[in-house]
Amino acid sequence: MSASWKQLLSQVLLLLVSCRHVNTKTPSPTAPALAPLPTNVSSVVLKGKSHTENIQLLNPVNLTLVCIWTGHQNTAPNITGHWRKDGEEIQSSRRSVQVDSQQYNMTRVFSIDKEENLGNYSCVFGDEAKIDFILAAPQFDEDRDKPIISYVGDSVGLTCKMANPDPNTWTWYKENGTAKELISAEPQRYEIKNTNNHTKLLVHNLTEADSGVFFCGAVFAIHTTMRPVELKVITFMEPLKPFISILVEVVVLVAAILLFERCQSKKKVPAGDGTTADQKNMLPQGDDNASEGSSSMRQRKV
C-alpha cells in the first residue's frame, strides 16, 4: 500500500477528469474491491456559494475529492482554501489556491477505511464558497415510526428492507439499557431469515419482557447501518377492557329501550282508546276508509 503511488494515480485520474466536460457532478462508479485500497474520485464544480454532495460508500476506499470553483466577478489571483471534517478544520490543510483559467481548484485524497472516517468533508474557499461531501454507508429508506404490537404467547416478525445496494449480511440487536445485544438464532425463540435485500427476525413465545427496541443492522464493509424497530407486547386484557365496557353499554341501552317501551305500552293499555301516536298505527280495519282517504289526500298535498 504505497500512498505516494496511489496519490500519483489519483492525480493522473484528476487530470483526465478536468480535461473532460466539467459540468457533470456525478461521482464515478465504485471500483471493484482490490487487495490494496481501491480509489475513487468525486468531482464537483461550484458556481454559486455552496453545494452538498452525497456519496454512498460500501467498502473502504481512497477517495479523492476535487473541488472546482468558478469564482465570482472579482477573481483575485489567489485565495486561501482549507478542508474540514465534520465542521472542524483539518490540520495543515490550509493552502493558497491559484486561479487557473478562471477557476479555483482544490484536491485532496482521503483514506476512508474505517467507520470513523465517514462523515461530512468540506472544502472551503476563503470565506466565500464551500462544497460539502457527505460520505456515508447506504441508509434505510424510511423509519417505521409506529411500534409493532403483538400479544403474549404469540409470534411476531420484525422486518427490515434495504432497496439498494444489497448489504453483505444482516445482524440483529436488542437494546438493553444503552447497550445493544447481538441476537443469535435460538430454537423456539429467535429465528432469523435473510434474503439479499431484506431480513426478518421471528420472535416466538413472546413475553412482556420482549418489549423494547430492536435494531436491524445492514452490514457493509465500511460500516453497519442500523435502524430501530420498536416492539410492544401486550396481554389480551388490554383490548378486552374496552370491549367489555362497550358490551356493557350495549346491554344497558338495549334493556333501557325495551323497558321504556314496555312502560309506554302499559300506560296505553288502561287508556283504552287512547290517542297516543303509536296506537294510530294499529287502527282497526273498519277505519280504513277514513284513513285511506285522509292519507291519500295528504300524499297529494306533499
Binding site: V250, V254, I257, E292, R300
Partner: protein, 488 residues
C-alpha cells in the same frame, strides 16, 4: 296530460299498509337506529382495509388475497338480500337487526383470534357479510313502515349513516391499530358493531303481533287474527315472489333494475382509483388521500339535503326523474375529470363527486319504495341487491384492467362516466314511457270498473280513491291481487 302524469307519480297509497304511518314521533328514533345500522353496513368493508397491511405481514398473505376479505364481505352482504327479505317479512325488522348485530359482533371477535387467511375469509367475509345483509334490508324496510309523507327525508337521513360512519371509523381504526394491533382492533370493532343491536332495539315493530309486550289492547283481539292471516298470506305470497318471476313482469321494476345495475357498475371504480389518479397527476400522497375524505365529508351533508329536497312538494311526485338527474350529474362529473390536471380542480371534482354520489344514494332506495310500495319492497330490495352483486364486483376490476391496458386513467373515467350517464338517461326516457303506459292501462281499467259499479258499494270508494290518486304498480298489483284486498 303530461302535467297530470307528473301529478300522479305519488307513492303507493297507505291503504296498502292497512294503517297510517307515523311520519314522526318514535319514527325519528327508528331513523336514528337505521342510520347506525346502515352506517355499519356500508362503511365496515371499506374501513377494514386499514388493517390489511398489518394482517398481511402477520399472516404472510399477498395483497390480492387480503383484498378478497372486503370483496367477500360486500358480495355476501349484497347476495344475502333475498334471505334477509324473507326473514324481515316473517319476523319483522327488530329481531332481524338484533340478530344481524350479534352476527357482526361475533364475526369480528372470532376473527381477532385468526391465524390463517381462510379463517378470516369465513369469519369476516361470510359471517360478517351475512350480519350486515340482515341489517341493511331490515333497516330500509322499517323506514318504509314508519314514514310515508316524510319518507324521502327519512331515507336521506338513514343513508347518511354510510359516510358518517366511514369518517368516524377510519381515524378510530387507525388509533386502535396503533394501540392494540390488528387483533385487539378487530375485537373492539366487534364490540362496536354490537351497537347494531341497540339500533335494532329502537326499531319498534308497528304491527301488533310481533311482540306480546306491545300487543294491542284486549278489545282488539279479533283484529290480530285477521292481521295474522294477512301476514301469513303475504308470507306465502313472498315465498312465491322470492323466485322473482313476477317481479320481472313489472315494467317499472325492470327499468329501475337496469338503471341501477349500470350505475353500480361505474360507481365504485372512481373511488378506488381516485388517489392513484391524483398521485399520477403529480399530487402528493397525503393530499391525494384527502380527496376521498373531502368526498365523504360532502356526501355526509348531501344525503339528508337531497332527502329534504326530494320531500318537497315539487320534487316528490317526480322523484324518479330527480333520480335520473342525479345519475346524469354524477356521470358527467366523471366524464369531466380527465380534463383536470391541477390539485385545486381535483378538490372541486371531489366535491362534485360527493354531491352526485350522495344524491344518488339518498334516492336509490326511496325510488324503489316509491315504485314497489310497502308490501313488495322487502322482497324487491333483496332481489335488487343480489343482482347488484355482479356489477359491484365486476366494476372496479374492469376499470382497473382498462388502466393496465392503456396506461392512462382517463379511459377509466370515460367508461364509468359514460355508463352512468347512459343509465341515467335510460331511466329518464323509460320512466316517461312507463308512466304513459300506466296512465293508459289505468284509464282502460277505470272504464271496465265503471261498467260494473253496482256490485259493491266499496268499489265505488275504490274507484274514487283511484281517480283521486292514481298510483304506481304497487297499488295496481294490490287491486289485481285478491290476496291483499284494499279493505277487509
Amino acid at each position: 296530460m303530461f302535467y297530470s302524469l307528473n301529478r300522479i307519480m305519488s307513492p303507493a297509497p297507505a291503504d296498502a299498509l292497512g294503517y297510517k304511518p307515523l311520519d314522526g314521533g318514535w319514527g325519528w328514533m327508528v331513523v336514528f337506529g337505521a342510520h347506525i345500522s346502515i352506517g355499519f353496513a356500508y362503511s365496515t368493508p371499506k374501513a377494514l382495509s386499514i388493517f390489511f397491511k398489518d394482517i398481511q405481514e402477520d399472516l404472510g398473505a399477498s395483497s390480492s388475497e387480503i383484498a378478497w376479505i372486503s370483496s367477500i364481505m360486500l358480495a355476501v352482504m349484497y347476495a344475502g338480500g333475498p334471505v334477509s327479505s324473507m326473514l324481515v317479512t316473517r319476523f319483522g325488522s327488530r329481531p332481524v337487526v338484533i340478530t344481524g348485530g350479534l352476527m357482526c359482533g361475533v364475526s369480528m371477535t372470532t376473527a381477532s383470534f385468526g391465524s390463517s387467511i381462510v379463517y378470516l375469509y369465513f369469519c369476516i367475509g361470510i359471517i360478517g357479510g351475512c350480519g350486515l345483509s340482515l341489517n341493511l334490508n331490515a333497516s330500509l324496510t322499517i323506514i318504509s313502515k314508519y314514514f310515508l309523507a316524510k319518507r324521502p327525508l327519512a331515507n336521506g337521513l338513514a343513508m347518511a349513516g354510510s359516510p358518517v360512519f366511514l369518517c368516524f371509523l377510519a381515524p378510530v381504526n387507525q388509533y386502535l391499530l396503533g394501540q392494540f394491533g390488528w387483533r385487539g382492533s378487530l375485537l373492539i370493532l366487534g364490540g362496536m358493531m354490537l351497537n347494531c343491536c341497540v339500533a335494532g332495539a329502537l326499531m319498534r315493530p308497528v304491527t301488533p303481533l310481533c311482540r306480546p309486550s306491545s300487543c294491542a289492547p284486549p278489545k282488539k283481539v279479533e283484529q290480530p287474527d285477521k292481521q295474522n292471516t294477512k301476514i301469513k298470506r303475504s308470507f306465502v305470497k313472498n315465498l312465491k315472489t322470492f323466485l322473482d318471476i313476477s317481479f320481472f313482469k313489472d315494467r317499472g321494476f325492470v327499468i329501475y333494475l337496469i338503471g341501477n345495475v349500470m350505475f353500480i357498475f361505474g360507481a365504485y371504480a372512481p373511488i378506488v382509483f381516485l388517489s392513484a389518479y391524483a398521485i399520477n397527476q403529480g399530487v402528493e400522497k397525503y393530499s391525494a388521500a384527502y380527496l376521498l375524505s373531502i368526498m365523504g365529508f360532502v356526501d355526509m351533508f348531501v344525503r339528508p339535503g337531497t332527502g329534504l329536497i326530494a320531500n318537497s312538494k315539487w320534487i316528490r311526485p317526480r322523484i324518479q326523474y330527480f333520480f335520473s338527474f342525479a345519475m346524469v350529474f354524477q356521470g358527467t362529473c366523471h366524464l369531466l375529470c380527465p380534463l383536470i390536471k391541477s390539485y385545486a380542480f381535483l378538490v372541486v371534482y371531489a366535491v362534485f363527486f360527493g354531491i352526485g354520489f350522495g344524491m344518488v344514494f339518498a334516492l336509490i332506495f326511496e325510488c324503489l319504495m316509491d315504485l314497489m310500495g310497502n308490501e313488495r319492497f322487502p322482497s324487491a330490495v333483496g332481489l335488487v341487491t343480489i343482482i347488484e352483486c355482479v356489477p359491484m364486483l365486476l366494476g372496479p376490476p374492469a376499470a382497473g384492467s382498462l388502466v393496465d391496458k392503456f396506461g392512462d386513467y382517463k379511459y377509466l373515467f370515460f367508461m364509468c362516466g359514460s355508463v352512468i350517464v347512459t343509465g341515467g338517461l335510460f331511466l329518464f326516457v323509460m320512466n316517461v314511457y312507463n308512466y304513459r303506459m300506466l296512465a293508459k292501462e289505468k284509464r282502460a281499467k277505470n272504464r271496465e270498473r265503471n261498467q260494473s259499479t253496482a256490485e259493491n258499494q266499496d268499489q265505488g270508494n275504490v274507484s274514487e280513491a283511484e281517480m283521486e290518486q292514481t298510483e304506481m304498480n304497487g297499488a295496481q298489483q294490490d287491486v289485481e291481487n285478491a290476496e291483499t284486498p284494499i279493505e277487509m
